[in-house]
Amino acid sequence: MSQSPVVIQVEGVAKSFGAVRALDGVDLAIATHECVGLIGHNGAGKSTLMHVLAGTLTPDKAAIQVNGDAQPGYGIELAHKLGIRCVFQELSLCPNLTVAENARILHPALRGFGWRRRAGALIKAKLDEVFPGHGLSADAVVSDLAIGQRQMIEIARAFTVTSEPLRLVILDEPTSSLDGHTAAQLFAFIRRSVEAGLSCILISHLLGEILGTSDRVVVMRDGRVVTSGPTASFDRNKLVAAMGGAEAHSGAVTAATPSTGLVRVRIRPKRQPDGRELVAREGEVIGLAGLAGHGQTDLLLAVFDAAGQLKSGQAEVTEPVALVAGDRQSDGVFPLWSIAENIGVGSLKNLRRGLLISEAAEDELAAQWQKRINIRTPDMRHSILSLSGGNQQKALFARALGSDARIVLMDDPMRGVDIGTKLDVYDLVRGEARAGRTFLWYTTEMDELSYCDRVYVFRNGVIAADLMRSEVSEDSVIGASFAEVG
């Protein structure tokens, strides 16, 4: 590996946002024919480093070399010219444009007569190559597509080539909205591309993806690289230890007896052909599994809508509900509000003193939750956007759990959250469930199903299987997700 030429090399990268040191002297070199897995907690500085490499963020201090040449004025344009691309964690497609038009945005060379046809052919060919059988059309408008399909397009777009070379593709949590099948297609494609001479940086919180795909692992913590080495020399526990997180505990829940508590939620999916229904009782954690986008979110929203109505057709929901959104940018945070206000908005009735909202009560609620789930900020009155993604998600959990809702709906809330935060939240969920709260938890991560008392597997908008905890296994869930009806 050391004899391969170096594509990009950075030394001493430093970047501060106000008082927060996001990067504190990072050295990194990426060779050709190399896929580097980059891991670390939220706030470790991975995303900041990626923005520096992609040229979208100017570091306070850095020496950047591409192909051995120093690049003093490194920025977006130079990065593009030198063939460095990035698939950002938050999707960066224009929803009002078609797939082909989005491809055009990345390629200044797609212009002149017939550009639309060429752009369409370019993105279509790459989609066919990366995700065979994707079923997407180049003329589709992006806002009509599901989030997983958008992610496929964004990934394929990053690998398209016109006039500029392609040397390094940075993938920041590329599988956060992909199901297992498309993720596997992506990793196979990454391996093929790396064999062919491309370089990749893969950032993922799913350690299995890193271990299975990368040649070398780089671990970051507190704005520095703490460990790096060939992937073969690491295993899951070693990686977790290097990140400074808790030891990975594998579904450390004692076997529970079937709950006999009061029924809190009873709902039948709209198009359920048989009599199957989802039942959640007091103190239960109910998992919703299956391939991404197969009706789990719709069901959660149906429960949310049914709450407050005593008996509404297909659904029966007896207690107030709160929803923890998965897409925190669009459905979760109020970006102009402080952390405390973002938490307090779920409990406005309890924070009211007379006609007004008591700031003291809001602060008290916020301080209590900051302590309970360890939101990392010097002041809860700071803007919610000053938090890293994982800590924003913690604030959303605090909003739901701090309210008086007895039923909590979770719409795949752990997307792109570091393992330390996850373990904190898992403990919290178990604790709250023991105290009598009911959780409906849609998740795309197999590990999380082991925290559930009962799992419903969804396929094409209906319940395909309903598994007790003892029956939940990777095989049984995948089997139910993929099997043909009948």
Partner: protein, 326 residues
């Protein structure tokens, strides 16, 4: 294999559903225009003739131009409240300087377009709300117009008056002009490769700037185009009225916004339709004539136009909702 065979049918079914909904939304502006024409025809069949349409639609040309200008600004998530008094100012300049000292007149008009670009640059660089800035500019333009022409008067240049009175064969001139305006705007904004960047800047500005494009340039171009359309609108208006007044076109601000919305555009997200915007402008112009034929006093015409807007928006919402629940 089983995955592909399952995913493919649902996504195709979904896209077909979306296509149907999009088609319905796309024809909605044309449908509302057809309904208005039909209603006029029912009340007064003779109005739907070469002469009648020329008369009823003559004012549609400046309105359509102002609407397309407004659409440029709305495509990048801004709103131009100043277009009305700007058209009035252009009218005053056209009826005085452009007629008496054509060179100075042209320079003034070019300067006005540049001023529009600077307003766009300021809104982008200082991250100011466009509503506030353009509301301020509304009064600036109006003040300048009063300085240029303190009391109603002036004369349209003869060539301009002649141009607006052209009699095209078979199809009335305003319809030909509206078609040309719509097609030019459509090709420029929807079909060219740079038009994609401009619309993308409305849809997801961060993504567009990350791909290496200048948002400042995009915004300046869009505001410049809006200014250019405003200049054309003002000149067309004076060509029709032959004399100017500082307050001649103040109503164009709301009329142009209504036209864009009526034509299927939206306030944010870069979703605009040039053809729709022109149809929207025609619809609003004809609505005035329809209300005349119904013997409704001109005092109520603005309310009538508002009612049409509400009906069309309600229909659009219904279509969207049907799409969601299907």
């Amino acid at each position: 294999m089983s995955v592909q065979s399952q995913v493919a049918p649902t996504s195709i079914g979904m896209s077909r559903l979306h296509d149907g909904r999009r088609l319905l939304r796309a024809v909605l502006p044309a449908l509302s225009l057809a309904l208005i024409i039909l209603a006029i025809w029912a009340l007064n069949p003779r109005a739907i003739s070469y002469f009648g349409l020329t008369l009823m639609l003559s004012l549609a040309v400046p309105v359509a131009l102002a609407t397309v200008g407004q659409m440029m600004v709305m495509a990048v998530n801004d709103l131009d409240l100043s277009i009305g008094s700007f058209v009035g100012l252009v009218g005053c300049v056209t009826a005085t300087w452009l007629r008496d000292e054509p060179l100075i007149g042209v320079l003034i008009l070019v300067g006005l377009v540049l001023a529009y670009m600077l307003v766009g640059a300021m809104i982008h660089l200082r991250n100011l709300p466009s509503i506030v800035v353009t509301l301020g500019m509304f009064f600036v333009w109006q003040g300048l117009a009063i300085l240029v022409l303190p009391k109603p008067g002036g004369h349209a240049p003869d060539w301009l008056h002649g141009l607006m009175a052209v009699k095209t064969p078979l199809v009335p001139f305003p319809i030909v002009a509206a078609l040309v305006i719509g097609i030019v705007a459509y090709v420029g904004l929807m079909r060219t490769s740079y038009g994609v960047i401009l619309r993308g800047a409305g849809g997801n500005p961060v993504a567009v700037s990350r791909a290496g494009w200048s948002l400042l340039r995009g915004k300046m171009i869009m505001f410049g185009l809006a200014g250019f359309c405003g200049v054309l609108a003002g000149m067309a208006l004076i060509g029709l009225t032959t004399s100017a007044d500082a307050n001649l076109a103040n109503g164009y601000t709301l009329l142009s916004i209504a036209g864009v919305i009526l034509g299927g555009g939206e306030f944010v997200g870069g979703r605009v339709s040039p053809i729709g915007a022109v149809i929207g402008a025609l619809t609003l112009t004809l609505a005035g004539s329809l209300l005349n034929f119904m013997h409704i006093s001109p005092d109520w015409q603005v309310a009538g136009q508002g009612a049409i807007l509400i009906v069309v928006l309600a229909a659009r919402t219904l279509i969207n909702r049907a799409g969601v629940s299907a």
